[in-house]
């Protein structure tokens, strides 16, 4: 029961992860897909194509992408209202995700959920939960089902550091540890819960240490470093799959944008944001790849263009989508049962 701190130098990780060029480019592409999708969402929000609350993941992409590498298709994922990144990294089609942002019937949740409620049964993506901490007990239950049904699956549960103050966090970690369930708890510690800085929400700011009091082995990892995250997640997942019970991963990160689209960001300095942007997961990884000679500037440009095309296609798909007929409003409140 110890907290492992990664040191940020991961040059040695290459072979551990079999970090061949293809995989590296895959990671970069995935992060880029999230980044561009969301940047487009921000624009669409200004155009009032997307409404409601929109919480962007910009700056935190390495976490979803890194962790998802270790999951199989039959593992389960539980996320929050800041879940576009997880959905994309999990493989949900960007087209249907964008249609969901619009509220169109072609959306992954039939348009009913919008940004905060992305669901996908095929990839066992269980949302999309807008109650802070509300997803953690679900993850415990999903893992319990897998265990009792004898399936060797893991549930990855993502949440912010703000959720760590909620009772649901405490109850869920205890249950998972007590019952030795296959849950990977991933805390995306971006230092703020809306406008509340970590040191004003937690008496113990090292979130990973909290896992100790449930006897859950935990690691804290640089949340801006996709390789470090992948490595830490793979290690934790292997331990879970080996029957070791739950694991906890704290990823130290930062959101580059406002909490949601209604946030003047009075609670933090511009300089702080700028400093973190310099450590951005895309920026750093791209630089590292370029320095390692794995990627040329032309290739970057090509990649960006490809992703831009995918995003454009997603927007076109969403635009072309239909509104769910009002007559279907009450459909699926309950399961329609054969009469």
């Amino acid at each position: 029961m110890s907290i492992r701190e990664t040191d940020g130098d991961h040059s040695h990780l290459g072979d551990k992860l079999h970090l061949d060029r293809a995989h590296a480019l895959h990671l970069l592409r995935e992060m880029l897909r999230i980044r561009q999708f969301e940047e487009r969402c921000a624009e669409l929000y200004t155009e009032e194509k997307i409404r409601g609350f929109l919480h962007l993941y910009t700056g935190e992409e390495a976490i979803a992408v890194g962790v998802m590498q270790g999951l199989t298709g039959s593992d389960a994922v539980v996320a929050t209202y800041r879940e576009h990144g997880h959905a994309i990294a999990r493989g949900l089609p960007m087209t249907r995700l964008m249609a969901e942002m619009y509220g169109k019937r072609e959306g992954v949740s039939r348009g009913r959920g919008g940004s905060m409620h992305v669901f996908d049964a095929d990839s066992r993506f269980y949302g999309g939960n807008a109650i802070v901490g509300g997803g953690l007990p679900l993850a415990v239950g999903l893992a319990l089902a897998d265990r009792l049904l004898g399936r060797a699956q893991v549930t990855a549960c993502f949440f912010g550091e703000g959720a760590a103050a909620e009772g649901a966090f405490h109850e869920s970690l205890n249950l998972a540890a007590l019952w030795q369930l296959p849950v990977l708890f991933v805390c995306e510690n971006n230092l703020y819960a809306m406008g509340t800085a970590l040191e004003r929400s937690e008496s113990e700011t090292a979130i990973a240490r909290k896992a100790e009091s449930y006897r859950i082995p935990a690691a804290a990892v640089d949340g801006m470093d996709v390789i470090a995250i992948e490595a830490a997640a793979r290690r934790a997942l292997a331990e879970i799959r080996a029957g070791g019970g739950p694991r906890f991963l704290e990823c130290r990160t930062y959101r580059f944008r406002a909490h949601s689209m209604f946030d003047a960001q009075l609670y933090r300095d511009k300089a702080e944001v700028e400093a973190w942007k310099q450590k951005g997961p895309l920026l750093r990884f791209r630089q590292w790849l370029q320095e390692a000679g794995m990627l040329s500037a032309a290739e970057v440009e090509h990649l960006e263009a490809e992703v831009a095309e995918e995003v454009a296609a997603a927007v076109a798909f969403a635009e072309a989508g239909q509104w769910e007929p009002v007559e279907d409003l009450a459909r699926d409140v309950y399961t329609e049962q054969p009469a």
Binding site: G111, L136, A168, E171, Y334
Partner: protein, 329 residues
């Protein structure tokens, strides 16, 4: 249909229902505080732990939000959990999970996920457990789209509703009134599943319709006896299912009796009785010969001493008086 009858208590009927479910479907398990080694705070699950073991009779730590949410997750994951929240009083701690997850997931996911979960809880006053342990919040649950709400009052329903609830693909909340557990009577030895929709006419009568459910059913039947002695024929309707409500049975009865009283142990303002009164207003107004009456709990935290507890919750005399009042005699 075999006519062999056995003597059984409500508690045992619920236990038999749980046992049957565990035997019939390997996906079923019971989870809650002290359901296992302790045997359940109202001894409902006594013996099941020895029979089915700790995985299927799963003791949970004191963490209502956590284990109820875990039940929702387990249902999503393919199991058929029976979550026992010891009493409705503690279910407030789990209400976010029930309202925001169990009740919404299907609709919100565009029909992708359903939550085949059953939540059982004890409810009601009568055991002198005072303000924090005597709530009747069935009406709150009946307000929430996405869940179904049952209130078995009879042995048949205690025995038969659980399996149907488990077969239902959506979340079902079952309320067991604490004063019913010790009631016993005759039940068919082969009693099994009963439908979980529709109200039941427990006694027929043409003068006034008494509408009730759960813990108040037997008080209401007693009141009907008293009224009968005075020549008043009361029809007694047991709602059985609090969400959805069976309007047809209610309206048909009132179309015959033209008068109605609703008996509900919830606090009066905002009670389930209010909803039923409003429905009678909307659907049977022209049939009514008198305003519909309500017999509910006094709007106070339920006090400990027996005389005050009795004064706070509906009693047979109150029901008789209310029936007389709507009949003007």
């Amino acid at each position: 249909m075999s006519a062999q009858m056995i003597e059984i208590s409500y508690r045992e009927a619920v236990r038999e229902a749980i046992r049957e479910a565990l035997n019939r479907d390997p996906r079923v398990f019971l989870m809650g505080e002290d359901v296992g080694r302790y045997g359940g705070c109202y001894a409902v699950s006594k013996g099941l732990y020895d029979e089915f073991g700790p995985e299927r009779i799963r003791d949970a730590p004191l963490s209502e939000a956590g284990f109820t949410g875990a039940g929702i997750g387990a249902a999503l994951g393919g199991l058929r959990p029976i979550v026992e929240v010891m009493t409705v009083n503690f279910s407030l701690l789990a209400l976010d999970q029930i309202v925001n997850n169990a009740a919404t997931l299907r609709h919100m996911s565009g029909g992708q996920f359903s939550v085949p979960l059953v939540i059982r809880m004890a409810c009601g006053a009568g055991k002198q457990l005072a303000a924090q342990h005597s709530h009747s919040l069935e009406g709150w649950y009946a307000h929430v789209p996405g869940i179904k709400v049952l209130a078995p009052a009879t042995l048949e329903d205690a025995r038969g509703m659980l399996w149907s609830a488990l077969e239902d693909p959506d979340p079902v909340v079952i309320f067991e009134h604490v004063m019913l557990y010790n009631r016993s009577g005759q039940l068919a030895a082969d009693a099994g599943a009963v439908p979980i929709e529709g109200a039941a006419v427990r006694r027929e009568g043409g003068d006034v319709t008494l509408i009730t459910y759960g813990g108040s059913l037997f008080k209401t039947l007693e009141a009907a006896d008293t009224l009968a002695a005075d020549g008043i024929a009361a029809e007694v309707i047991d709602l059985r299912c609090l969400r959805p409500l069976d309007d047809a049975t209610l309206m048909a009865s009132v179309a015959r009796t033209h008068r109605a009283v609703i008996i509900d142990e919830g606090w009066r303002s905002g009670s389930l009785a209010a909803e039923i009164s409003a429905r009678l207003m909307e659907q049977a107004f022209w049939e009514l010969d008198a305003p519909v009456g309500r017999v509910c709990s006094a709007e106070v935290p339920i006090p400990y001493p027996k005389h005050l507890e009795d004064a706070a919750v509906p009693q047979t005399d109150d029901i008789v008086a209310a029936a007389r009042a709507v009949l003007n005699r």
